[in-house]
Subunit: 641 residues, 2 copies
């Protein structure tokens, strides 16, 4: 049987294929007792009929006196009827109206005489103020239809109607099969203090289970399978025998080890392979024994993207026979809200002809919602955990200039009036303050764009605060000339947060015997630099300028890290020999450090934001003793007071 699967198709085409080929699962019922706390949200697999009348007795609708209507004939305030003690009975709202009565007189329309007789001021008809047997629901009435989702009111109605058990639709059975020789189970990963090099934890099952749980579904996880086609085949065939959908982890992006498409083709049918989206491109789907199979790329973000855009629509088709292309993605994400016109803070290039998923953070500045993408490829988990939400850039999108309006699906609760955006120099002590800002009622998010980048952002009103440590080569003075040049007529509040030591970060034990920036020109020395506009790069440029060194003679001058930690990490990882950076980064990674200068790290805030509740919280946080104590322990920081 030669069937050609579609390759390199866009998501709309994926959805069209899924719609054509995936139909609603046949109804399968399981019985549940009507008082099972898990019942709410389940779908009825059959019509449910009331076994009882509700109420099951004639009940009073008011507080008052049960009477016979004919005894009240002609009663009015001016001409009350008088009833003897044995011809009426007090009833509370909801209480039974005995068979010897046929209506209830509201207490407001009566009075009791001293001798215990009832004065009636209102003429009644039989049934007045009585909720007759079965008024709410009668015995035999259909109270729930097959296909209805059981809502909270229904959970109370079912037992009240005498229903003891009922058939609900059986849950979807789904399994995830992780594969890969390099994958180790989470339990083993946490047990080992130093996991083997080259091995990674099986983390995707945890994330996928959490998404399924958000959708009200459960997901089983199979054992981790080795990269052995026959083992995978056997497990896949077993999985399809007892599941409605099977997800396989990785396989598809793994160079020489791509077995899974072959197995699906041999045992069933491959529907498509490679989607024109980023990340998530290597995804594929097919059928084995008529059960849909989705192969998820291994990287976390790729897995998530395919889970939202392929697995969730597929499951919707299995469960309800359809899905709405407009709302399926925010539904899959569990988006809390949608922001339609978030203005982009930085230019963004999107690949042409490819749908791109972008993890973003958002902030409101002067009432305008701004958005920026988080850095990091599909392998990074941190950016996913940290993001406020997602933007989807359609395949036609190529260049998004600053100020482009993006639609953002927000997956995090954000209190806009507390949130402030920092842009500026990177510093690990500053990073620590974020928690203390939160403690004081603010919500600080940070983009590390270098000192000059921060000032420029402030000037363009693209952040609430910035920080700088910029040396002026001519004078050796810090910050003032840069700030004055950029602030123009605006009033900017300034405060030195702390002083910190800058120097040369080198490998432990200094194997290359580096002692100053003069060594940076040596053929056996590879440096890692910081981005344009970073105060640390300004410092390096000043230092080599003083030594008359041409930057072209330095190996690695154009290799860029965006943070002190990333630069230090390159040295720790053996990918560079030296970097200019702060002592705290060297200390944290147990690297050697040659001190060069102590510099003031100064915060700058436009005065217009000083009343912003986020900025207030930030300024309060600066006085937190715990923060200072923590920072003192990081190495190279000092307060001059």
């Amino acid at each position: 049987m030669v069937k050609r699967s579609k390759e390199h198709i866009d998501l709309k085409e994926v959805w069209t294929i899924l719609r054509e080929r995936i139909s609603r699962l046949p109804d399968r019922a399981i019985s549940m007792v009507s008082i099972d706390p898990e019942l709410s949200g389940k779908i009825l697999a059959e019509d449910v009929v009331s076994m009882r009348n509700i109420p099951h007795f004639n009940a009073s609708a008011v507080d008052g006196y049960a009477v016979k209507a004919y005894r009240t004939s002609g009663a009015a305030p001016a001409t009350p009827c008088i009833l003897s003690e044995d011809s009426f009975q007090w009833v509370n709202t909801g209480a039974q109206v005995e068979d010897i009565f046929d209506c209830v007189l509201m207490v407001e329309d009566s009075s009791l005489s001293d001798s215990g007789e009832l004065l009636v001021y209102q003429t009644l008809s039989p049934g007045d103020n009585v909720r007759p047997v079965g008024e709410d629901v009668f015995k035999g009435q259909i109270i729930g239809r097959k296909g209805d989702r059981i809502n909270p009111a229904m959970t109370a109605l079912l037992p009240a109607a005498g229903v003891k058990t009922l058939n609900v639709r059986k849950d979807l059975r789904a399994i995830f099969l992780p594969t890969g020789d390099e994958i180790i189970p989470v339990e083993k990963w946490l047990e080992d203090d130093k996991p083997l090099q080259g091995r990674v934890m099986e983390s995707n099952s945890l994330m996928l289970k959490a998404f399924f749980a958000k959708w009200g579904l459960s997901l089983e996880t199979g054992p981790i399978l080795p990269d052995d086609p026959e083992v995978i085949r056997k497990q896949l065939l077993e999985a399809v025998s007892s599941n409605d959908v099977v997800l396989i982890g990785a396989g598809s992006a793994k160079g020489k080890k791509d077995h899974i498409s072959k197995i699906i083709e041999e045992e069933g049918e491959l529907l498509f392979h490679w989607i024109l989206m980023k990340p998530g491109r290597p995804a594929m789907a097919g059928f084995v024994r008529d059960i849909p199979i989705v192969d998820l790329p291994g990287f976390p973000m790729s897995t998530a993207v395919v889970c939202w855009s392929v697995v969730f629509p597929l499951i919707s088709l299995l469960l309800s026979g359809d899905f709405s292309e407009d709302s399926i993605i925010p539904q899959a994400l569990g988006a809390l809200s949608t922001t339609h016109n978030a203005s982009l803070l930085v230019p963004h290039s999107s690949p042409s002809g490819i749908l791109e998923w972008v993890r973003v953070r958002t902030v409101k500045i002067n009432e305008e919602t701004r958005v920026f993408p988080l850095a990091g490829g599909s392998s990074t988990m941190w950016a996913m955990a940290e993001s406020d939400g997602l933007t989807l850039l359609d395949p036609k999108t190529v260049e998004c200039p600053k100020g482009s309006l993006w639609k953002v699906w927000l997956t995090r609760e954000i209190e806009w009036e507390r949130r402030i955006l920092y842009q500026g120099s990177n510093d690990p002590a500053f990073d620590r303050i974020i928690s203390y800002v939160r403690k004081n009622g603010g919500d600080l998010i940070a983009r590390y764009v270098g000192s000059l980048g921060g000032l420029a952002s402030l000037r363009r009103k693209e952040c609430h605060l910035a920080a700088v440590h910029l040396i002026e080569p001519q004078t050796g003075l810090y910050n003032t000339s840069y700030i004055n040049e950029l602030k123009g007529d605006a009033s900017w509040y300034r405060q030195v947060l702390f002083h910190r030591q800058q120097g040369i970060i080198i490998a432990s034990q200094n194997p290359k015997e580096i002692s100053s920036v003069r060594d940076f020109v040596r053929e056996d020395v590879q440096i890692i630099n910081r981005q344009n506009g970073a105060g640390t790069r300004v410092l390096l440029d000043m230092l080599i300028n003083e030594e008359g060194i041409d930057s072209c003679d330095i190996r690695g001058y154009d290799n860029i890290s965006l943070t002190h930690f990333d630069a230090a990490n390159h040295i720790a990882a053996g990918l560079a020999d030296a970097a200019i950076g702060i002592k705290a980064a060297a200390d944290a990674l147990e690297l050697d450090f040659i001190p060069l200068v102590e510099e003031p790290f100064e915060i700058v805030i436009p005065e217009e934001y000083l009343e912003h509740s986020g900025i207030k919280a930030f300024l309060q946080a600066l006085n937190e003793k715990d923060w200072r104590k923590q920072v003192m322990g990081m190495g190279g920081y000092r307060w001059k007071e």
Copy 2:
């Protein structure tokens, strides 16, 4: 201590009081293991720091060959460098780059010679295509901040970062204490085949638990308490000692037995009592031992309303210190969407100065969203279970004419293109067809407004279909003259669904010895009639007219039931002696029946709707054998074919 609680206040004032008096709970943490499946959605009670670098080794970012960068110096497609077998190593994406290498050559930029040497077509720098140790997350990095909600990505990141256990915010502890001598536990209720008269099931705890579960919270239920102030006091004091919020069921609306406000005043402070809303008016809230207490009225709808509008905001204050007045109600309801301009199908009177909660159903007719309220007071569970959503009418709203635009919070998933609205005559066999319409892919909702009401609705385009059984007194012919009069120039499709027997429904054994409508004028005979425009009322009017009876001489002529079952139920309940109605209603309630006529029950559909997928499903359903079989068993139905 004399403190005056507020009485008879509106909901806005309730919210103001709650905001002033309820503050965020102090942080209380519990430890959870990082791989607990319940972790997703929990809130971090502390900052979480990564225990490991991710990746913990230098990993390849591509499929290719790990090499030393300096060996590729000058390499280009025209001038490849040649590397011997021992100076490169194949690596898959994600695999380790051994320490003896410092970059990865993409497989596309290379070729292997026959003798096993590697031809390199690209000059590389150290670090190229390598994800260094800690690139994603470095050891010591803060990966989650106190107050963050754990999202699915975070559930994977935490163990990947070597975090074994972490502190999350302890769940809210809430308890519901049902009270009332008349209340019996659900288990007992289901056990008894015939529950005692005057007793009702404790159903509110089930509904409340389901709402709490929707909010991601759990709710304990205490034992059912008798109407004994000292027992209630004791239990309340116990409950506040181990809970963050205590809900008490009923008490407040129960006439002479209102203890709870007194207990709260004596043991603490009453904040308010009586809210200007309908239902839910008797609600109250206060503090006992600084723990907030909410007293919920006993009726299900009242309980639900207070749960949404008082309990949920209160809980939001306890958990986050604030709530948004704009979104708190739809959040509480778990609204799936909001329809802003649903046009009202029937006039609605709302009490002045009172906020009114209205359970509604919705439908789209000719692209316009229409809405109508469901009948039933706060005691009815059925209307709650059946509703599509809620509308809140502000206190200023008094008369809402037909066509008023209501905002509706939808709590049910509706497939608009499948949904059709029936307005017309009530019939239990018709009611049964709803399930078969659904089986055929439609979604039929019905309003029983009588035959004439249905035709008038059709004419005004206020429904998709109607049904009639209207006798013309002059000719004894059915339906045609009425239809022709109302359809005007429109083309209406007609089809007789079935014939059914109408007659006089009387109590079993006919204790009043009723034999014809002539007996309706007897002083000891009380009838129950149907509403104006109902075909059954038209029939009665014709019959008494033939007998020369004046309707003023019939006791109960103005007492109205909207359905055959309701009329029959009044007879079964002893509240009326006779009604005109169909045999099926008499049979179902085991009442006696005196046949009078057999009438055609005819469906009418404007031709413009014949292609509507809901109408198509309806017409298909008419041929369902199972439906006909079911209807045949109900008594009094016949097909003439």
